[in-house]
Symmetry: C2
């Protein structure tokens, strides 16, 4: 199985939302009304610091992630890449799609001069944690969220 | 003790780097050469998605943090605010400066329409974790980092 990757376009949006919602945690957080997603997509799409990526197999979107490039003063002025909203079609789990998706993230990061990739994963996602550790990630931080 | 807050300007940079380095973890990550920080500051300063903030007491910078606003398609198209590189002068710990700094972060986040604040903190910083929980943050995620 070999995915190809490209920047998402507007017509990918329903499928991206489907992937975000097809998940035990995501199901409770996403809605069926596309309007708020379209407004958000327009912002992401217009922002050079953000890349919404899709992975395609046989013409179908089967994976997605968002990359955000953040210039920071800390760590000697490191450009960081934040990886968010990583999803792979459940039907394709365990076939290397996630590994290919993250390799694409790291390639894009290095191309832009990022020296650090960082991500958070819900504490209940033990499989995802093993996956990231296997890719070489250090599970070094606690992640906190607050609704504003 | 009452801090005032403003966006950082270029001449705050040496003091910001001092605050970043005055820390058991930061000490090994920061350098004394200001050049890379100046380049990074120029990027942060030019980017409307990023706010480098300083807290001032009696004319002296005693606290800093970086806020990054990230439009996302997930969670119904939520604008997220990421809080990074939070530091308060050690001499002022326990006097409410951190609480005032985070209140400023949340005020700025709400002003820009962010509905979620998120941050990560090194697993060794137990005091910081208690502080964030006390502010209402859910310690819900594992944080991963990979050098690229």
């Amino acid at each position: 199985m070999h995915l190809t990757f490209r920047d998402a376009v507007r017509k990918d949006l329903p499928r991206i939302v489907e992937l975000l919602a097809a998940d035990s945690l995501g199901a409770g957080r996403e809605t069926t009304d596309l309007a708020p997603y379209e407004a958000a997509f327009a912002l992401v799409d217009a922002d050079p610091a953000n890349e919404l990526v899709v992975g395609v197999l046989d013409g179908r979107v089967v994976a997605t992630m968002q990359l955000t490039f953040v210039p920071t003063v800390s760590r000697g002025g490191t450009l960081r890449m934040i990886v968010e909203a990583v999803r792979v079609d459940e039907a394709l789990r365990g076939r290397g799609g996630g590994t290919q998706l993250m390799a694409e993230a790291h390639r894009r990061g290095r191309d832009r001069g990022a020296r650090l990739a960082q991500l958070t994963s819900d504490k209940s996602r033990a499989d995802a944690h093993r996956f990231y550790r296997r890719l070489g990630y250090a599970q070094s931080h606690e992640g906190f969220k607050l609704e504003l």
